[in-house]
């Protein structure tokens, strides 16, 4: 078989490009069909299940208890929403970095996974009304409690890289020097070893930590801009977005979120925190 194999390869490449073009063309119609919303309220009701993306490893928001049951603040909200819609709930477990893709690839109808609203995320998903607020808090030893940000001038503050706390102190509090770590475990160990005057992180994490470390206190409960946590739906899913907004208003009127706080978050945060520090109750 010595003949013109250059020609054969050329032919093969040509054939494959034609095949690729045909395949793309053949697929177009179905891409167009994808626009018919598989996560609209009517589609969910027809299917009989609301698919909710939740965390599986973030107590007390979304986690799995020792009996294998999904529980947490976000999970309780998911169950309530499915109940009010009259459908069953099905959970899709996600990590922080695949929440957006899970919506875009139609794996879930809605994300209830401690999903903080940010300008970048708003470009790729639609957020419903927020149901929780967090902001940066500062924890310090009770003996040398830091209660005002001015006390930190010229002192060291511990943060974790990539958090909103690091962001805030780098850009807004230039007089404070930062000691940066990679993980939560490292940063809390550093504080225990007196490596800095205080530690800054999302206040909800700090409340939970202080409960197990009573020698410390969240002296500054909230500095910097508030961050809002809201349900996320696929960009352009107006039907589910409107339904979710109405649902959150309704649940607020029923005091659902305060009850949810008391049953899921309070055991973790202790009595130092009031529901109103976390839960949004303004739009009753």
């Amino acid at each position: 078989m010595k003949f013109n194999w250059k020609k054969i390869i050329t032919a093969a490449v040509a054939a494959m490009s034609v095949a690729a073009v045909v395949a793309t063309a053949a697929v177009r119609p179905s891409t167009a069909n994808a626009d018919s919303n598989t996560s609209s309220v009517s589609a969910i009701k027809k299917r009989g299940t609301l698919r909710v993306a939740v965390f599986g490893d973030l107590p007390p928001y979304g986690w799995v208890n020792k009996n294998g049951k999904r529980v947490g603040y976000d999970v309780a909200l998911a169950r309530q929403m499915a109940k009010d819609m009259g459908v069953k709930v099905k959970f899709v477990q996600v990590n922080a970095n695949n929440r957006v893709d899970t919506l875009n690839s139609n794996k879930a109808d809605i994300v209830l996974a401690n999903f903080t609203q940010t300008p970048e995320r708003k470009q790729v998903v639609d957020f419903a009304k927020p149901y929780m607020k967090v902001s940066v808090g500062v924890v310090s030893p009770k003996k040398k409690a830091i209660t005002n940000v001015n006390q930190l001038k010229g002192k060291k503050v511990i943060v974790t890289k990539g958090t909103t706390a690091e962001n805030y102190f780098t850009s807004k509090q230039k007089g404070v020097s930062l000691l940066k770590f990679d993980s939560k475990t490292q940063q809390f160990n550093a504080l225990k070893n007196n490596r800095a005057a205080a530690l800054a992180d999302d206040n909800s994490y700090l409340y939970a930590w202080v409960k197990n470390n009573p020698k410390y206190t969240v002296g500054i409960k909230s500095i910097g801009p508030k961050q809002y946590i809201a349900p996320g739906v696929k960009k352009g899913n107006k039907s589910l977005l409107n339904w979710t907004n109405k649902e959150i208003t309704k649940l607020n009127k029923q005091d659902f979120f305060t009850k949810d706080y008391n049953s899921e978050l309070k055991p973790y945060f202790g009595s130092e925190v009031k529901p109103s520090d976390i839960v949004i109750t303004s739009d009753k």
């Binding site: 599986g56 020792k66 009996n67 996600v94 690839s105 794996k107």
Partner: protein
């Protein structure tokens, strides 16, 4: 108590959940291997044919699956396929799809190598006896290649089982994903639980993989005399 992390394993249904996770990983690996080995045999056979087009296409296929990391393949089938082509199947079947294609690619090369290493006089004797191509493959080549392929195939199988640890990235409740749930759920009360949970997972993977590895060793040893 802080130093009773081992209790984490036996609280509630934790142990049963870990075993359930292991089962998920094992059956996905098993089905992928069955499909992948069957496909791979066909592809490997095709790659020994004279047609350059078929060989080129199969070589491109092999190189694609060998070069692209498995985690990228999983993301492709789980996130990109549904978004671009509106294919929506449960994550476990998408994983089986990705793993089968990967196993088929790797195995086709093993089969090709084995077929080519069968001595030429065997093939020629078969042809001289008047066997056709199919008979030659079925009665002369296949029996001889199976022995040559086995060690490499078992090695591939252990790799597939280990790689199931990537399944957690596409929301499949495999043993590692369940392990993480348990670790995080008990982090406050049992800070040392992480050691025990990952320790158990290590032992579980070892129990599944080590017999295969031993088997491969014995087969290789046999071939040497």
């Amino acid at each position: 108590m802080a130093h009773s992390g081992i209790n984490v394993l036996f609280e509630g249904s934790n142990f049963a959940r870990l075993m359930g996770g292991l089962w998920t990983a094992v059956w996905i690996a098993a089905i992928s291997l069955i499909i992948g080995l069957a496909l791979g045999t066909i592809f490997g056979l095709l790659r020994t044919l004279k047609s350059r087009i078929i060989r080129l296409i199969l070589l491109l296929y092999l190189e694609f699956f060998r070069i692209v990391p498995t985690i990228v393949l999983l993301f492709l089938v789980y996130y990109i396929l549904p978004r671009q082509f509106n294919v929506n199947m449960p994550a476990t079947w998408m994983a089986v799809l990705a793993f089968s294609l990967w196993v088929a690619a790797e195995f086709s090369d093993i089969v090709r190598g084995a077929l080519e290493s069968v001595p030429k006089h065997q093939r020629e004797s078969g042809l001289a006896l008047g066997l056709d191509q199919w008979q030659l493959f079925r009665y002369v080549l296949l029996p001889q290649t199976v022995r040559l392929e086995l060690p490499a195939t078992i090695n591939l199988a252990t790799r597939v089982i280990k790689t199931t640890s990537l399944l957690m990235t596409i929301s499949i409740m495999d043993v590692i994903n369940v392990g993480q749930q348990i670790v995080e759920a008990n982090n406050q009360s049992h800070p040392t639980g992480v050691f025990w949970v990952y320790g158990l997972i290590f032992i579980l993977y070892f129990i599944v993989d080590y017999p295969l590895s031993l088997w491969a060793k014995r087969l290789t040893a046999k071939q040497h005399y």
